[in-house]
């Protein structure tokens, strides 16, 4: 738990690095669907359902889409 909190605050500090990032006219690659997080909603949903049903932990990427009596 402490490790998780430390890592999260490290990420926040990371956020303060203003030298990271791009200008609006440099977003041609970033605008591609393959470079977006969370767009593969059905594929991620299918995968999460399989792994949740066969393993002891679930989620982490986002909120799960409905429970079931799988685990």
């Amino acid at each position: 738990m402490k490790t998780l909190i430390l890592i999260f605050f490290a990420l926040l500090i990371f956020a303060g690095c203003s030298s990271l990032g791009v200008k609006p006219w440099e977003r041609n690659l970033l605008s591609k669907p393959e470079m977006q997080f969370g767009v593969r909603s059905l594929e991620d949903g299918f995968d999460d359902h399989i792994y949740f049903s066969k393993e002891g932990v679930s989620g982490g990427r986002g909120f799960s889409a409905g429970g079931c009596g799988c685990n």
Partner: protein, 449 residues
């Protein structure tokens, strides 16, 4: 929507004429022309209304299909799904997802393989089934159909802040799950950073077939029951998600999430047993003596950290993800997944990938218990909570269609191997495959429009 009276009469007349046409032979020329005219007007009416609905918003979505098939005659599942997104003015989005899930096949009942034939009472308590010597105890009448509906609304609260709220419901024969979730996302002025806070509440109702078995009670022969603790149980889950994403460069973006979850209520698997084996009589050492219903704690606090990266490398995109999870049941898990998405021709892309998963068992997991041991307060032999490793190689083939539409085929093979760890097989257990592997073929087809 309501039909205007004139349209109702038109449709009624069309149906009446069509019925007469079917019954009369030869067809009257004037009647045939009348039917064609009504048919054309009906088609035009439907097309106008569909076009009107289309203009409410910018529509997009996805149709998906999952086929899942475990080896050795175990669980098979087919799962069609559809997702629709309606984007209104001012970036407001309404999103809906509907999934059907049909499962059949055979599922492990938690008992240990044995060199003796084993007989078990079915979940309903009214029948029994026998497993041959050396075979994995599987309940082969496993059938279930699940329907899952999720809907959410998202809208900007300001130029940089977005809010969404969603509902999720899932129902199957013995399980109902209802949930609400909400999240707030803030982007930096230059859109290079975003922060998300999300909350979720889910309430689950379990109605096991045959009633709720009394935890730790011995399995009894059919019709000798009930040894049940009622017919319905509840479980509530509260989740919080903290997310952050950062654009690293023109070709690189990263994301990190921390998830905390707390569940309270019924978390037993009502269909799983634990084998009690002979651990002192040398003549029957290792043989199953009886079976008890499992019992898990009624509280669970889960924690998870997820990091993901997408980076352009050599004109393809390298995806890397890592998740660390643990909870107060004692489980610790690491998940690593890689994939590389690249073009093979103008319209075709492929994405080979590999997922690695490793889990340490929960504290109350045991393959079986010796009959001279005291029954633990909590115990499970569910292989999914044991020490295990899973590897999933996969390949995705994508065809880019015009207007940002896409069709994709995904093939994966899931290989899970359990570990005996500290369990010491004795007597007739030796030589048995006490933790059979779980392997499954996975096929997915997706059409994005």
């Amino acid at each position: 929507m309501q039909l205007r009276p004139k349209k109702k009469r038109k449709i009624g007349k069309f149906l009446a004429n069509a019925t007469v046409a079917l019954l009369c032979n030869p067809m009257d020329q004037a009647l045939a022309e009348d039917i064609r005219s009504d048919e054309s007007e009906l088609k035009s009416f439907i097309t106008r209304n569909i076009n009107e609905i289309k203009q409410w918003a910018k529509w997009s979505g996805e149709i998906g299909f999952l086929g899942y098939s475990e080896t050795q005659g175990r669980v098979q599942a087919i799962e069609p799904a559809i997702k629709l997104d309606a984007k209104f003015v001012n970036d407001r989005v309404w999103s809906t997802k509907l999934v059907f899930d049909s499962l059949t096949g055979a599922s492990p009942n938690g008992a240990l393989n044995s060199g003796q034939p084993q007989t078990f009472t079915s979940p309903s308590g009214s029948a029994s089934y026998t497993i041959s010597p050396g075979e994995q105890p599987l309940y082969s009448q496993f059938r279930d159909t699940r329907v899952n509906l999720g809907t959410s609304w998202s809208e900007p609260l300001s130029r940089s802040v977005k809010w969404n709220i969603g509902f999720n419901g899932s129902t199957e024969y013995d399980y109902l799950s209802l949930g609400l979730n909400t999240a707030l996302t803030k982007e930096s002025e230059d859109k290079n950073q975003s922060w998300t806070v999300g909350l979720s509440y889910t309430t689950d109702t379990v109605r096991p077939v045959g009633g709720v078995p009394t935890p730790l009670a011995a399995m009894v022969a059919p019709h000798l029951g009930p040894l049940r603790s009622g017919s319905v149980e509840q479980k509530d889950t509260y989740d919080i998600l903290l997310g952050y994403s950062q654009v690293m460069s023109r070709s690189w973006i990263m994301q990190g999430n921390i998830s905390l979850g707390y569940s309270q209520g019924y978390m037993n698997d009502p269909y799983k047993f634990v084998t009690i084996f002979e651990d002192s009589n040398l003549a029957t050492l290792g043989d199953p003596v009886s079976y008890i219903h499992e019992k898990r704690p009624d509280k669970r606090f889960k924690r998870s950290l997820y990091l993901a990266s997408k980076k352009f490398i050599q004109s393809g995109i390298l995806n890397v993800g890592y998740r660390y999870s643990n909870d107060d049941w004692g489980i610790q898990a690491h998940t690593v997944d890689f994939s590389y998405n690249f073009a093979v021709s103008g319209k075709w892309r492929i994405e080979p990938g590999l997922r690695y998963y490793n889990q340490s068992a929960v504290d109350f997991y045991s393959l079986a218990i010796g009959n001279s041991q005291a029954t633990p307060v909590t115990i499970t032999s569910d292989y999914r909570l044991g020490d295990l490793t899973a590897l999933t190689p996969g390949l995705k083939i994508i065809n880019k269609l015009k207007d940002e539409k896409e069709i994709a085929l995904i093939l994966r093979y899931y290989m899970q191997h359990g570990d005996l760890s500290s369990f010491n097989p004795v007597g007739s257990m030796q030589g048995q495959n006490l933790i059979p592997d779980t392997n499954a073929y996975i096929l997915q087809v997706h059409y994005i429009f």
